[in-house]
Amino acid sequence: MTPLTQFGGLAAALLMFQEAQGSGGVWAAFFEAHAAQLGSYFLLVALMLALYSFLAGVLALFGRDSLSERIGETARRAGIAIFFLVILAGITLVTAAFQDNFSIAYIFHHSNRDLPVAYKFAVLWSGQEGSLLFWTLLLSTYGLVLRLRHKTDTRLFAHASVIIAAVQIFFLLLVNFAAHPFAVTEGGIPADGSGLNPLLQYPEMVIHPPMLYLGYVGFTVPFAFGLGALIMRYPGEKWIHITRRWTMVTWAFLTIGIFLGSHWAYNVLGWGGYWAWDPVENASFMPWLTGNAFLHSVMMQEKRGMLKIWNVWLVFSTFLLSILGTFLTRSGIVSSVHAFAQSSIGTWFLIFLGLTLGTCIFAFVKNRDHLRSEHRLEALVSRESSFLFNNLLLLVLCFTIVLGTFFPVLHEWIVGSKVTVGPEFYNKEAFPIALLLLLLTALGPLLAWRMTSVDSLKRNFLWPALGALAIFIGLLIFGVRPWQDATHFYSTMAITLASLVIFTIASEFIRGGRVISRHSGQNLLLSIAQLGRRNTRRYGGYIVHIGVVIVFIGIAGSAFNRNVEKEMGYGDKVQLGNYELVCRSYTQEDKPNYASEWAILEVFQNGKQIDTLYPERRFYKASQQTSTMVANRSSLKEDLYVVYEGLNQDSGRPIIKVYINPLVNWLWIGVITMILGTVMAMLPNTLPSPATAATRVQTVPVGAGD
């Protein structure tokens, strides 16, 4: 049933609603009977409002009189109303999941009666139609915040609101006509649903997609500001300050989303890793990289009025890549464990991508003279250059990932046959670039704006370099052999360069802290804390860098992974590293939603029992699919990661796979550090206490160290 044909039934539904008032049970029954109609209605009205918001908004932008202002205000209010309608549609779908309303095809395909309550929320984003509705909902939420904050800069926000409305039209068209979440089940209403994908029945899955989507969708806002500012030839750099804040928030959400996804993959997929360079993983990484590049290069524009064209295109590319990533997931053109079924929806995305790119190019060509640089770049050894090369490396990394992801499709078009581009390709291509990026991260903070003398660089770089050299020698002493193979080489270099970054950042903190300590008389630690509060953006940024290098250290540990697989009966033992696992028992359990079997394994280290692990395998009844629940004993040094792989079909004996994965915990600690640093960078600075110069100096504009 299409939304339009449901209009007729709506009048009858409203009459029933009047009759149903006064009784909660009847209310629920009414809702259950008419959820599809209500949901469709909400989405259709939201689409109409989005169209109005866009058209009236455009009309208002052309005029300067009070009538235009009033029309603009109605467009803004229509934009706000979209949020309420889309959230009602979302609530309708989730309520239908809670009511086991299998008359809605989406609920039938993605839920079942025995699904635990928490996962009924996850139904919203577990399938094509629901996740697009969820996307629309988040976009409406961002749109709401933007439209409520319009007084910050009325005209800029009006432009951004129109662009957001245009994006909303696209997504509302999708959920109304291409992937309708309220389509009704053909034939009779089934007694039970097909169930939620077992891989999604894990606590993190309740928050991983929302975080990831908040990141993806959020890039619409910087895009709207960027395009709006270009179209209106915005005077000054205020738009870039606003855009930077939105980008930081969005980037932080995407970071959380990506790493929650990795953590989920590590704990659920049971193959011992957290990143498989799957096309859908890559899709989330691409806008993360360009967003990251923008957060660096935006400083050039703020501080020096440079790279304006570059920044505008970085904002555009980030948004386009987030749409491209969605296209990748939705169209089914590449095979991935995450991808939705192949569908015609990809064509919609291609058209939208084409239209968006066309608009960006048109706006740029028409207004490019507005983006002229105000300053020149004075030296190759300068903070500006380091940002330039940082951007280059981030974009080459992004290009490598785009190339690897689309190469199978490209190969099929050109050569006529498919190829596989597996993790080895990305490891060989991306790691050298990532290491160069790490080296630049170490050098960057030591470079001053405009230019840095080689002497000054040598002076500041000496101690961190010696520290990194000591770490490198320490690694060799502890038995790391970089010449063993490429993986060991990359790991050694990653740890060495990571330590170099940490030492340079530490030296920056200490140097700044000493200055404050000298003037205030307080101790160094307090001075460093004060330093951070005085320039939250700079030192928050450094903390983000520390987080990144901790992540690199975690990744470097993967070169030393070990595993063993064994069929284990009662009392059988398996040895890996200095761990010995003894199988004590196997047991089974039958729950309404799934049946599970698990092993009870005692873990010994040096002859002493240190733990008991319970690796599990579940069989989900509704979907008739199995899923692993990994048992993991995690420490800073390594993870003892145990997977119950199932029963050997021939011998009937359970198969247990044991992994030792060094340094994995560092990855999660690194991410938390990155988020803390991002939050710090968004906090306002505290005012520094006034200081008096001892001698009079000529006032010369000198770049601040930011």
């Binding site: 464990v337 020149r376 280059l392 290009f399 190339l403 596989t420 000054s456 997977v643």
Partner: protein, 166 residues
Amino acid sequence: MWTMLKSSQFRSPWRFAQMAVVMLATTLFMGVGDEARFRKLGHQLMCVCGCNQILLECNHVGCSYSDRMRGELVEATDRGDNDDLTLQSFVQKYGPTVIAVPSVTGFNIVAWIMPFMVLLAGTGLAVYVVHTWRGRPIPALPGGIRPATGTDLDKFREQARSETDL
């Protein structure tokens, strides 16, 4: 051979012990080599069940493809087939997508060299941009102030750092 063994220089128990050690070591190292080759080749192949995982990382117990493919890989390494022959036999049987990465031949070379070409071209472009920008005139500042450069700039920075809080 037997004649050699019967000759006087091979009769001493010490010589037999040496031979036994050599033979044992050879057998052991052959085993290690096979295992290493199995792991190496197993990571160059994909499981074709649709899970999109590396053959040796496919963790679907009872997966009819990965178990069979692992068996075939063990047979090939036991037979002593070289790496190319082994991989080619998998391509013949399961198609080109069974190989985990594009080969370094034909159009595939594009995938391998493009990132580094882009990096080189980008670096060249960045250096050119810096060089061009350096050639631009220094923008005039209000009040006729000339921006400091070189050692003067370093001196002022150091002075600012030592005399102010930040």
